[in-house]
């Protein structure tokens, strides 16, 4: 690739303006935030209005779920992330064991509900990966149901490649991102 020349057409602006508060909206624009898993939903949106966009922390729920994983690695019920091979929705024997433990727990605790969150690594197109995450979540869903978990105790959702846990661009990062998270 030959460097031909550089033309700067637009200069900065973003940073200065981004910190400002939202008091009024221009015609063609919409603002949405995911505050559903935050336990301070109302406070978060008020904060956003008065002190800027970056004040919300809405991922607390997920962070707790992941940190619980490390508490007991030998207990399959303590493992709440299932990992997959590239472009595959099939479970490894180890993953199968983990899912079965959750099935047993859920079947024995009617009233408990679970969200299965499917994810993909960044390779392949975004829309294909959205579907792949859906298929991965559904694979886990079918096993749970096959082992007696009530269908209405399970919800599936896919984020495709949009919510990686590891930002690297190699197999070690990708293998962590190809996953289904079991969220109670």
């Amino acid at each position: 690739m030959r460097r031909f020349g550089t033309v700067f057409l637009v200069l900065f602006l973003g940073v200065v303006l981004a910190g400002c508060a939202a008091t009024k909206k221009k015609g063609g624009e919409v603002e949405v935030e995911d505050a559903t898993i935050s336990d301070t939903t109302d406070a978060a949106s008020t904060d956003a209005a008065s002190s800027g966009i970056s004040s919300e922390d809405t991922t607390a729920g997920e962070i707790i779920a992941i940190s619980e994983d490390s508490t007991d690695l030998d207990d399959p019920l303590g493992q709440r992330v299932i990992y997959f091979d590239f472009d595959s929705s099939n479970l490894t024997p180890e993953a199968q064991r983990v899912v079965e433990a959750h099935a047993q727990y859920l079947a024995g605790n009617p009233g408990m509900a679970v969200v299965l969150e499917g994810h993909a690594d960044e390779r392949g197109t975004r829309e294909y990966n959205l579907a792949l995450g859906e298929h991965r979540a559904n694979t886990v869903n079918e096993i749970l149901q096959g082992l007696g978990v009530a269908p209405d105790a399970i919800r599936t959702i896919s984020y495709g490649e949009e919510r990686p846990v590891s930002m690297g661009q190699d197999e070690s990062a990708w293998s962590l991102n190809r996953r289904v998270e079991i969220l109670y």
Binding site: M1, F4, G5, T6, V7, F8, L9, V10, L11, F12, L13, G14, V15, V16, L17, A18, C20, A21, A22, K25, K26, G27, G28, E29, V30, E31, V32, E33, D34, A35, T36, I37, S54, E56, D57, T59, G61, D87, E122, R123, G124, T125, R126, E127, Y128, L130, A131, L132, E134, H135, N141, E142, R155, T156, I157, Y159, G160, E162, M167, Q169
Partner: protein, 440 residues
């Protein structure tokens, strides 16, 4: 010049303490990374300015950048010009033959009154010594950039026989990771050269992807999420009013919207009960019909320009490949056979070529390729490892796509012949998911 405009904007923003995130422009800069000197040699003389203050825009610079970006022209350096005419009576054709210009662009900008400008230009054939086209515009300062793009469009058409696509808009998504881990997504609309970015949607931790322009350029369909527990859904947003709605409630996750050429239908993907298929939805009525029925993943539909077919990605043969189906369903035909994976195909305006993401299976990852429907041959246009989301310009002359520059997600544009490439990058954060509007 430009520094003055930027300085004014900065002064304006600094004075306004309560600022709207709506005016938080995510700035894109364009960097031409690759260009070959085999286009038509053309000379564009700086437009003569008749006015009291400084000219609000450098019309010649905008035109020159447009023409260069297309890959079809070689802009001769102004330093080589032997004269600087702005009117036909001042042109000595010999001066231009000497520097081997085939065409000459001259023009002027006259300040007629407060915020009132007259722009005129002429495109001259140097060898035949005659005017190919001349136009005059009366505009405000805010319209000067658009006029420059319209002049570029006219020059492109006169020189190539293909209509220009400079006076068009693009949409794209930006993502900024905040210090607290939040991911801030913005759906942006800008001129085709990245100028004048407008934010039309902002979400926190709710991904935004797959923006798709309605054929009339008034609506964007895109995929996002309502909250952390409901799946992907498709929104339709009027980009002028900001009004938006989700498509008729479907069971399961909806994604990958694609407008039919007449704007009356949306093709989309619905994932329900572990199955992912292509559907078509009548926008006005919300009526929905299933098009593909296969246990594999079928997604990323795109309409042929005549509206009679759709292409889509399916992994029914193992890996993702491109297939075609009639708009009313029927037999599914596999189109791509070469390469390990092919995905996210869309037609060029002629309907003869598809642009897509391809993995040739050589370990080089994902590039953008153009596939000829007649020959079945694929031509690789890019050399990245994670190139994705290609979108043709409305005239088929350029392809905009998402790529990586180091660890950053940036947009890149490549001429359809692969000769000229440029990067559009943000000051900060990732840019992705470009979509080129069919009309302004």
């Amino acid at each position: 010049m430009r520094r003055i405009v930027a300085g004014m904007l900065l002064a304006l923003s600094a004075g306004c303490v309560v600022l709207l995130p709506t005016s938080a422009f995510a700035a894109l800069t364009i960097e031409i990374t690759q260009g070959e000197g085999s286009g038509t040699p053309i000379a564009a003389v700086p437009f003569r300015w008749h006015g009291d203050t400084e000219p609000p825009e450098d019309i010649r610079a905008i035109i020159a950048a447009d023409l260069h970006r297309s890959g079809r022209f070689d802009l001769l350096p102004a330093a080589d010009f032997l004269s600087k005419p702005s009117e036909i009576t001042e042109v000595r054709y010999k001066d231009w033959r000497l520097i081997k210009a085939e065409a000459l662009v001259i023009g002027r900008v006259i300040e007629k009154g407060p915020d009132q400008f007259e722009v005129s230009f002429q495109l001259l054939d140097v060898y035949r010594e005659r005017i190919k086209v001349g136009l005059r515009f009366s505009v405000s300062a805010a319209q000067l950039r658009q006029v420059a793009h319209q002049i570029s469009d006219r020059i492109f058409y006169e020189m190539t026989g293909v209509r220009g696509a400079f006076d068009t808009r693009i949409a794209y998504v930006t993502m900024n990771q905040q210090d607290n881990g939040d991911r801030l997504y913005r759906l942006m609309v800008a001129d085709s050269d990245g100028h004048d970015p407008q934010q039309i949607l902002q979400t926190t931790n709710l991904p935004v992807l797959s923006p798709a322009w309605s054929p009339n350029g008034e609506w964007l369909a895109y995929v996002s999420f309502s909250n952390a527990t409901s799946g992907a859904n498709i929104w339709l947003q009027d980009i002028n009013s900001g009004n938006r709605r989700t498509i008729a409630q479907v069971e399961g996750a909806a994604s990958a919207p694609a407008w039919s050429p007449d704007g009356k239908w949306l093709a989309l993907t619905i994932s329900a009960k572990g199955n992912t298929d292509i559907y078509v939805l009548q926008v006005a009525s919300g009526d929905i019909r299933q098009l593909t029925r296969h246990p594999a993943i079928d997604t990323e539909p795109a309409w042929s320009p005549d509206g009679r077919h759709l292409v889509f990605t399916s992994d029914r043969s193992g890996r993702p490949q491109i297939y075609r189906i009639g708009r009313n369903g029927g037999e599914v035909e596999r189109l791509t056979r070469g390469g390990k994976e092919n995905a996210r195909a869309s037609y060029d305006p002629s309907g003869k070529r598809l642009v897509m993401v391809t993995n040739r299976g050589t370990g080089a990852g994902y590039q953008i390729g153009v596939f000829s429907l007649a020959s079945g041959e694929m031509e690789l246009l890019t050399d990245g490892t994670l190139d994705e989301s290609p979108t043709f310009s409305p005239n088929g002359a350029m392809i905009l796509y998402a790529t990586r520059l180091g660890r950053d997600g940036v947009l890149a544009a490549v001429s359809a012949d692969g000769r000229v490439r440029q990067i559009l990058k943000m000051h900060d954060g990732e840019v992705r998911e470009p979509a080129w509007a069919a009309s302004r």
